[in-house]
């Protein structure tokens, strides 16, 4: 496969054509903040925290680095005033939903995000999909999925599968950027009563 040459934060890097900008940056040891990315899972592009600025054919734009494929002569900036501003806003919005998440708080400090900027609507889950995708893609159990949509979207365990598989696995818990609170909570609920949506 022919290699692709691009520039990230002023440094040249060679990447294979199937790589994303995020992977190319990681190859250089450049850290881009991510919440919904996991190396064992297909790119998902849900949280948008990994946004970077790219310059190609004379124009600049913001792209989501974990789903953006590398391109020859691409110029990438992983930090800039614009990028930092977007990340700060995303963090402030997410913190309204999961104010106690340590991952979010750590990033918030780095980007000067104010966790009290927006009115709190704790829902714990920030819809990163890590738990759902890990269960489907890596474990192939499909014990957990999303139900409903928009702001009402939430995770939901399939009771029959969960009661067989989950207690011995629980591998999704540590993946959750909001410290698995929600996952643990919903799981125990699903095991004792019937599925919330089938009540």
């Amino acid at each position: 496969m022919s290699e692709i040459l691009l520039e990230i934060d002023g440094r040249q890097v060679e990447a294979s054509p199937d790589m994303t900008v995020l992977q190319a940056a990681q190859k250089l040891g450049i850290k881009i903040p991510t919440l919904c990315h996991h190396e064992k899972l297909e790119p998902y592009g849900a949280c948008r925290l990994c946004m970077v600025e790219v310059e190609s054919r004379g124009s600049t734009k913001l792209v989501v680095s974990c789903v953006y494929p590398v391109e020859n002569n691409l110029v990438v900036r992983t930090r800039s005033e614009k990028v930092d501003k977007v990340r700060k806003m995303i963090l402030e919005l997410l913190l309204a939903h999961a104010p106690d998440s340590r991952d979010l708080q750590r990033y918030a400090q780095e980007y000067g995000a104010d966790k009290n900027r927006f009115e709190k609507e704790p829902s714990f889950c920030i819809h990163c999909g890590l738990c759902v995708r890990y269960c489907a893609e890596v474990k192939k159990k499909h014990a957990i999925g999303f139900i409903d949509r928009g702001t009402h979207r939430e995770i939901n365990f399939i009771q029959e599968i969960a009661s067989k598989e989950c207690w011995n696995c629980k591998e999704c818990f540590p993946l959750c950027p909001t410290e698995a609170l929600q996952a643990a909570y919903v799981l125990s609920g699903a095991l004792v009563s019937s599925l919330p949506i089938f009540k």
Binding site: V132, A136, H142, A143, I144, G145, F146, I147, D148, R149, N156, I158, I161, L195, I197, F198
Partner: protein
Amino acid sequence: MDMERVDQIIEKHNSEPSSLIQILLDIQSENRWLPKEALERISEKLQVPLTRIQQIATFYKAFSLVPKGRHGIHICMGTACHVRGAQRVLDTVEELTGIKPGETDADLKFSLETVNCLGCCALGPVMEIDGEIHGNMTPAETAETLKKYE
């Protein structure tokens, strides 16, 4: 709903995973809701995870996972109907059926929903029951109309 009928519907669509939504729609329109057993059956026959089916069944408003009434009432709360007194029509229906939007009564007679514009604003306020449009509704006419449904 008996599972044989569910199987027939699945077979009509050649057990094609890509026909999932169509299968759900067929069951919904025949049965007025999607029982859990039916979803499990579809999952098994189509080899589609139940999580996926649930995600779709809860995403679209056309699907219901709880039993629905024999008659579906839609009250238009769109701008035109609103200024022409839709709230009074809704109040009347709520009072007579004892249910609020999104609910179904205990006898499974009516399910009530509100919508935003049915596309016939000149007839407002509009109430639609089982697809039939009732225009220029007054509270009295609303009560009369509801009486016609068994």
